[in-house]
Amino acid sequence: MSSAISLRHVVKHYRRGKESVEVLHDLSLEIPAGEFVSLMGPSGSGKTTILNLVGGLDSCNSGEVIVGGEHLETLSGGQLTKWRGHNIGFVFQFYNLMPMLSAAANVELPLLLTSLSKSERQRRVAVALEIVGLKDRASHKPGEMSGGQQQRVGIARAIVADPAILLCDEPTGDLDRASADEILTLLQQLNRQQGKTILMVTHDPKAADHATRRLEMDKGQLIERVLVGA
Amino acid sequence: MIRQIFIVCALNFKSLPRRFWTSMVIVVGLGATVGVLLSMLSLTTGMQQAILHSGDPGRAIVVSAGSDSEGQSVITRAMAPLIVDAPGIAKDKDGKPLADKAATMGVPVLRKDGTKGYTTMRGLGTKGLALRPELKLVAGRFFQPGRREMMVGRGAQSLYKGMNIGDKVILPGGEWPIVGVFSTGDLMEGQLVGDADTLMTATHHANYNAVLVRLKSMDSFDTFKKALSTNPALSVTAQRHSDWYKRVSSESTIGLVILAYIVGAVMAIGALFGCLNTLYAAVSARGREIATLRALGFSAFPVAVSVIIEGVVLAVAGAAIGAAIAWTLYDGKRDAFGNIIFFLTVSPATVGLGIFWAMLVALLGGLLPSIRAARRPVVDALRAT
């Protein structure tokens, strides 16, 4: 299996006032296509940074970031944006939906950037909503939905353009146990049935259970957690 | 209650810097509105002041019935003695009535900035100068009766070309040289004066335009007026000189005044909507602060009042700035409308009007937001992010 995501000798530091804080020192990571990887670790350990690097939202100071065969460190801002629209789906902790748009309109957003016809866009939106189980909520606004339902809209939006990779930043962080489980099952389904590669940052140990591979960040180092009694 | 209002307002103004730019919307809106209003009114106020300043209530002017201006009026040589002999007129040291038969005509002139204008040439009779103690010689000499020569007023000299002593003005029958400059402290400073009979001969006019008299006393006007109106040989109207000018003033300026208020009102409405917007936003931004006060025991009324006061203070500040700009740009500038030379005036009265206007807008604009501030459930506001 070829690697969907490759980080090689990545170094990333942030400027905090006059100080420079090194978050990632010489980090390397290979994620084959079709894997569902969970990434845990204390705050500030750099897990969100890894997510942002893979998603092209941030760039490293040195090293290589190769996603889907593309060397992200060589792309310009504009090229990264375009690439991102085709290849990545983001799922956020606080959903980041547009409050004034209906669920369907929210899901349609990534497709507005394509040249698909209106009817084609609407078809794909319906399919995405069907997958997440919200077909009958298409015309509802986020304010009319529960947290779990909003996150499902968020996932529908993330998959509507059929990207190969899903990046999830604490997707269950704001949900109660029941809703969290629903979301994680959904992600699992997307991984197993649609073959989507998923990299999920989380605090929740139960969330990590749903993944096929567990990683931990500790002081900038990646540690693999082997499944015990799978 | 008053104490509560003070405290809430003080708190409100402390948080105002955070809402600086939104608050500036009110200041700019009212500044523009009041600035435009006062600029337009500077024209009308200046004109009105110049005109009203010119009427002496101790004098009366007699014109033919139905005339709106001296130029339209015709007083024949037959009518004149009847008017001059009427009761109520003061007498001069020779015992003759202080009455002057005057002739006027319009004279086109060129302003110093090149635009066209016109002024009035006033022919004074024998008693013309005695009737006008305010007329003083500033330079040169008085015109001589019977000679084709004239004097110019200070205002005319400063505004028009070719008005210096020695210059010649084209009139019917030839050119008349300017021999002197006079001042009167009123409208006449924008005009030219000469001898009435000479003027009438040169223009081939047989008739006078008006008769100006000095009343024996302020109260003799009624006697004078009655004598003229009951005389079947005369069809004339008598008015106090001050009343005459009041009418002229309102007629000249009414169109512009209406226009100024229309423009001011329209802009005020625009500013009103801006005001509403800002104050709604302010209430929103202060949500938590207001809710906390309410929870602590402050009643709704001071909260509502604080919103309105915020609006009023900002609006008045804007109005003051607008007035200051209008004053700096326009006040004191000389201008002329027809033959009326005046100074653009941003008077204290108009500034007061502007501020009142602004307060009105703020009161209207603050009403709805203040109600919302008072009515918003405390619990919701505390929970809101």
Binding site: - | V36, M105, Y280
Partner: protein, 382 residues
């Protein structure tokens, strides 16, 4: 376009703010329309001014004599001379001022561009006591064809002492520079009915120049001819007469300044609104960027969010101004009208230009902030 729902949702996020902004913009553009429209009227009037017409009046006020007509016609370069004498009076009450131009027959041949048909001009000759009345005046006095219009005039009394009873023959169109409208009557009838001492007077001569390019010279020639006579003249070409900047107070500059003040007010309001809206929705814009919207795309969204209320407000405002011009004459006392503003295509173009400029300037700073935004920080800000 497909992005419209997104922009609309952004605008309507705070409906009260959107509506108030729209209303404020609309009001400012109403003022804009009225002032710039008035300037458009002046420009049109000056542009349409007849190059070959010279107005001749008495230099020092008062009336001219009929005898001057023959002399004027002899001046080389003059192709036609027509004249009017004015009837100055009032209708019923002294404050209802009326001014009627009692015209000689040749006026029909010189005022050919006025909206009066040959048949209508002929009516004046066939019915000597008749008048043609323009629409604005007809509305003012509530007159229709066939009505009698009684004018009392202390200044121009009839020889027999009666007031003037004139019959309305027809209603004709208004002319731009005749603010408040006009009334035309028959000179001959008017002249013969006056007392002897007031007969054969003229208050305005209309001289037509054979060569339009030299009408200014012709005006000077007329003045030179009468300079030493008993009634010196002051002549002016129509082009010069309609040049507004030449009159004392430069009204077109005043109009422009008022319009600018209104635009400044609107600019502030809009800029503030957009800045606030963008600030509130920073995370939303960040999300759009993660989805794949480009920097330019996001900036375009902000610009559209500013442009839609501005352009809509401009359209509504100028439309409202257009409606106001129909009631404008009623706001002023008779005889004190202002030129009616016209919403010409150029006015609309200026409105669109101004609205776009306001939107652009308002959107610039917030858009720049979005461009420079660090997506990662913006997203983590939640």
């Amino acid at each position: 376009m497909k992005y419209f729902p997104l922009v609309w949702a952004a605008i309507m996020r705070k409906p009260a703010r959107a509506i108030l902004t729209l209303l404020s913009v609309m009001i400012a553009f109403t003022l804009f329309g009225l002032t710039i429209g008035m300037n458009a009227t002046f420009t049109t009037m000056a542009k349409n001014a007849r190059a070959d017409r010279v107005y001749v009046g008495a230099r020092f006020g008062g009336d001219m004599s009929l005898a001057m007509a023959a002399q004027m016609a002899q001046i080389p370069g003059v192709s036609m001379v027509a004249y009017t004498n004015g009837l100055n009076g009032y209708h019923q009450e002294k404050k209802n001022k009326v001014y009627a131009m009692m015209a000689d027959a040749k006026l029909a041949d010189t005022l050919t561009e006025w909206p009066i048909t040959r048949a209508q001009w002929d009516m004046l000759q066939k019915n000597r006591t008749g008048i043609l009345i323009s629409r604005q005046q007809a509305t003012l006095w509530h007159l229709k064809p066939g009505d009698d219009f009684v004018i009392a005039s202390p200044q121009h009394p009839r020889g027999d002492g009666q007031p003037w009873k004139l019959r309305v023959l027809d209603i004709v169109g208004d002319v731009g520079y005749m603010s408040g409208g006009y009334i035309l009557g028959n000179y001959d009838y008017f002249n013969k009915s006056l007392p002897l001492a007031k007969q054969d007077k003229v208050d305005q001569y209309f001289v037509q120049a054979g060569d339009p390019t030299h009408s200014a010279d012709l005006a000077q020639k007329v003045d030179d001819h009468f300079a030493n006579s008993t009634i010196p003249t002051q002549s002016i070409t129509e082009k010069a007469a309609l040049d507004v900047s030449n009159v004392g107070i430069d009204i077109s500059a005043v109009d422009r300044d008022i319009a600018l003040a209104g635009m400044f007010m609107v600019l502030f309001l809009t800029a503030n609104g957009i800045a606030q809206s963008v600030r509130e929705r920073f995370a939303e814009f960040a999300t759009l960027k993660t989805i794949g919207f480009s920097d330019n795309g996001v900036m375009a969204l902000v610009f559209l969010e500013a442009a839609i209320p501005c352009l809509l407000g401009a359209a509504l405002g100028v439309g409202l101004a257009s409606w106001i011009t129909t009631v404008l004459p009623r706001l002023f006392p008779p005889g004190q009208g202002v030129p009616i503003p016209m919403m010409t295509p150029s006015v609309y173009l200026w409105a669109i230009f101004s609205a776009s400029a306001v939107a652009l300037i308002s959107a610039v700073l917030p858009a720049m902030r979005l461009k420079r935004m660090d997506i990662a920080t913006a997203l983590s800000g939640r």
